[in-house]
């Protein structure tokens, strides 16, 4: 399914992306637009930080008491007539969904956008048992036709231009469609209308689940999620176990934060609160409704002080739009369902395989723009550092890098060794220095010098000049206050006794 799963590292995939001129332009344009939209919308609304703090508090509290709130949600949803299922792993959720589809003898499933189902690769599984799974969100439909993964949480087909889209849709139409947005969207409307009406099952994700009433809430602009939850006789909702908020009162905060952060809208065109299947006398809505609650690695974050806040995420995509790295390389370079800063942390966290995804955590400049943008204040930039640390701690760092770091520690830990190394370096560098700069891309310098220039070692280094400098300053320095002197001496003493805890990283 992946656009470039063949390429193994983020670096390789990013180079692929960087070469694709349209992708780079499209991603920049869209993310700029979304980012500005968010800035304007949050500024216009006012008191943005207070709303963010509210959002964070509500999410923190719910996750910290998830056993209570999730259980309450389940009991209420059951009382509403919903069939609730639990899935520890992705495969379990897939198996439950497939069993329902088989029981219903379903031929077609219409789906509205659900990141969880992307995470589970559910469409593929359904196809294998002969059930046609159709994505109905315009962007998702396009990338499904192209056989690709979404490259943005909110705008999945961000990387396709209308000519490419016209090609894909023309194939479905069996005639040449003009590369005009209205024509293309009009075709999809007509085509998917038929699918909505004939589908046996509607499948959705879940933006928020209300614990106190057992309702599920969906945000969308196109109306396809409403279609999927109104027309087919059976509804299946896939829900990450952390989607819970206590009440509709809390939904006001989420509804204030999510659309503004995602697209800069005051509210999405549709926000639907669905409470159970259709009532007996209703003439539309699903007759049978299932909610599958998915863990799939989420509970690994619970009780982990460094990563628990990851579960506060409301999937708005604001961190993607704010991220300078995402804006350059686009979503596919991350090589997983979730991209951008949230993906860089969430993917290894959900998979508990730091080693396999190690290079994603490095695809960040740790600038903190993601944290600034996050409507529930998840410290993603800190988590990226924790992730890098864990990777090294588990012995999954690069062997050369580890050896290098050890060597560096040995050198800098001993003044004599450092002095000797610098002396050798000063002689050795003569081979490569041109005009005070080292530009060679040979050996270990390739990575650095591809985009930068390494300065040469100076003839007289700071270390060489230190003794003289120290003497000069010492002459002008007022004597140290006695208590400060005592404190400094104590610190030195403690350090010599080996009690110092600093510099461990």
């Amino acid at each position: 399914m992946s656009a470039n799963k063949g390429k193994s590292s983020v670096k390789e995939r990013a180079e692929l992306a960087l070469n694709d001129e349209f992708l780079v332009k499209a991603v920049k344009f869209t993310t700029e637009r979304l980012r500005n939209g968010k800035k304007n919308a949050s500024a216009e609304h006012g008191n943005w930080d207070e709303w963010r703090e509210r959002g964070r508090q509500i999410r923190l509290h719910t996750i910290a008491h998830l056993d209570y709130y999730l259980n309450l949600f389940v009991d209420n949803a059951r009382a509403n007539g919903v069939h609730v299922h639990f899935a520890d792993k992705g495969e379990d959720a897939v198996a439950i969904a497939m069993e329902i589809a088989q029981r219903k003898a379903a031929k077609t499933v219409v789906k509205s956008k659900s990141m969880v189902s992307e995470e589970l690769h559910l469409n593929h599984a359904l196809e294998q048992i002969g059930v046609e799974a159709i994505e109905t969100d315009l962007g998702e439909y396009i990338i499904q036709l192209a056989g690709e993964m979404p490259s943005h949480i909110v705008i999945p087909a961000i990387h396709k231009n209308r000519y490419q889209i016209a090609d894909l849709l023309s194939e479905v139409a069996g005639e040449r469609l003009e590369a005009d947005t209205t024509v293309l969207a009009g075709f999809v409307r007509k085509k998917l209308r038929e699918k909505f009406l004939e589908a046996d099952i509607g499948m959705t994700g879940c933006n928020f689940a209300i614990a106190e009433t057992g309702s599920m809430v969906l945000f969308e602009n196109e109306g396809n999620a409403r279609m999927v939850t109104t027309v087919p006789k059976t509804q299946i909702t896939l829900m990450g176990m952390e989607r819970i908020i206590p009440s509709f009162e809390d939904l006001e905060v989420m509804a204030t934060l999510l659309p503004r952060s995602a697209t800069g809208q005051k509210l999405t065109m549709y926000m639907s609160a669905i409470t159970g299947p259709k009532r007996t006398a209703d003439a539309d809505g699903p007759e049978e409704m299932h909610i599958i609650i998915v863990d799939n690695g989420r509970s690994l974050q619970l009780g982990d002080p460094e990563f628990q806040e990851l579960l506060n995420c409301i999937r708005c995509g604001a961190c993607l739009n704010a991220c300078p790295v995402y804006r350059h390389i686009g979503g596919h370079a991350y090589g997983s369902t979730y991209s951008g800063p949230i993906g860089a942390v969430l993917t290894p966290a959900l998979n508990k395989n730091v080693a396999e995804w190690d290079d994603i955590a490095n695809a960040s400049s740790l600038c903190g723009a993601c944290y600034e943008a996050c409507p529930v204040k998840i410290p993603l930039h800190d988590m990226l550092i924790y992730l890098r640390r864990r990777k090294v701690e588990t012995g999954n760092g690069k062997a050369v890098e580890t050896a290098g770091m050890k060597g560096f520690a040995a050198l800098t830990g001993s003044s004599a060794a450092m002095k000797a190394a610098l002396a050798i370096g000063k002689i050795g560098q003569r081979l490569v220095v041109r005009g005070g700069e080292i530009r060679t891309k040979l050996g270990p310098l390739k990575g650095w010098n591809s985009y930068r220039v390494t300065p040469s070692l100076p003839r007289r280094s700071f270390r060489d000049r230190w003794e003289k400098l120290d003497r000069e300053i010492d002459a002008k320095r007022p004597p140290m206050a006695p208590d400060m002197k005592r404190r400094m001496e104590r610190i030195v003493q403690e350090r010599e006794q080996g009690g110092g805890g600093h510099g461990g990283h």
Binding site: G81, L138, N161, L197, T213, T275
Partner: protein, 270 residues
């Protein structure tokens, strides 16, 4: 709950059998089998629920929480709760918001004028099929007589009509707002036997009547009562509509009317 279950089972998949007796027996058999399967799934799920929740509390390192943990912060910040616009401001802001996302608005004095407004548009657009919710206010619009060229259907007013298909082929849908909110420019519609979710979704053109006295300011004015009534008071669908269906998925180019109605009128009454 029992009601819902019985009905879900009762209207199961029709598999096009010919001999009436055999079909009925077959269907009843399939229904029973399906009900048994659902019951089995439910048993498994209830057993799983315990271990699932216990797993969560173990991870969180606290004993299973069974009493309501007091929320330190619930809902919107305090300063927001007292925020309110005057009735006239609400109308102005609602209209401005609705139009800013590509919707249309008009102010009418009463239902008569609203009826005339809709009839004119219907004739302009040569509407053939109109579907409206089954409500007295909408009957008072008199569309049945004022648009004789069109067939006006009243949602769920007869058995043996496929109402979803009817709404799908309709050119115009007419609904009455249960509530509206000016700050976001949003209309709230609640489902009921006489109020289909499809009517505000499937037709190409949608008219929403908004009585001015139902127009509030903040989203919370509609959400908080949903908690207060509790789950039993909630209908299957509560839909917050903020304009026409739209998408920017193709090259960020805004398209109106992707799946839902593309032309949406909010008629403010009073």
């Amino acid at each position: 709950m029992a009601d819902i279950k019985r009905q879900a089972v009762g209207e199961s998949i029709g598999e096009g059998k010919t001999a009436a007796g055999a079909a009925q027996a077959g269907l009843a058999g399939a229904d029973a089998e399906h009900a048994a399967w659902l019951a089995e799934m439910e048993r498994a799920s209830r057993a799983k629920q315990e271990s699932f929740m216990n797993g969560i509390s173990a991870r969180l390192r606290h004993p299973r929480m069974t009493t309501n943990p007091q929320q330190p912060a619930r809902g919107a910040p305090d300063f927001w709760r007292t925020f309110d616009w005057t009735p006239e401001e609400r109308i102005e802001r609602f209209e401005a918001n609705w139009r800013s996302v590509g919707g249309h608005t008009a102010r009418v004095r009463d239902l008569d004028e609203a009826g005339r407004f809709i009839a004119e548009r219907a004739q302009e657009l040569s509407a053939r099929i109109i579907v409206r919710q089954d409500q007295d206010e909408l009957a008072a619009l008199g569309l049945e007589t004022s648009v004789p060229e069109a067939e006006v259907s009243v949602w769920n007013s007869e058995a043996d009509v496929s109402w979803k298909a009817r709404a799908a082929e309709a050119d115009i849908g007419v609904v009455l707002a249960d509530q509206a909110l000016a700050y976001t420019g949003t209309v709230v519609v609640r489902s009921a036997p006489g109020k289909g979710r499809s009517v505000s979704l499937l037709p190409t053109v949608l008219f929403i009547l908004v009585p001015a006295e139902r127009l509030g300011t903040r989203l919370g004015e509609a959400l908080i009562p949903m908690d207060e009534g509790g789950r039993e008071a909630l209908p299957a669908g509560v839909h917050f509509i903020t304009g026409p269906s739209r998408s920017s998925d193709i090259e960020n180019d805004l398209t109106i009317g992707v799946h839902g109605p593309g032309v949406v009128y909010a008629l403010i009454i009073g």
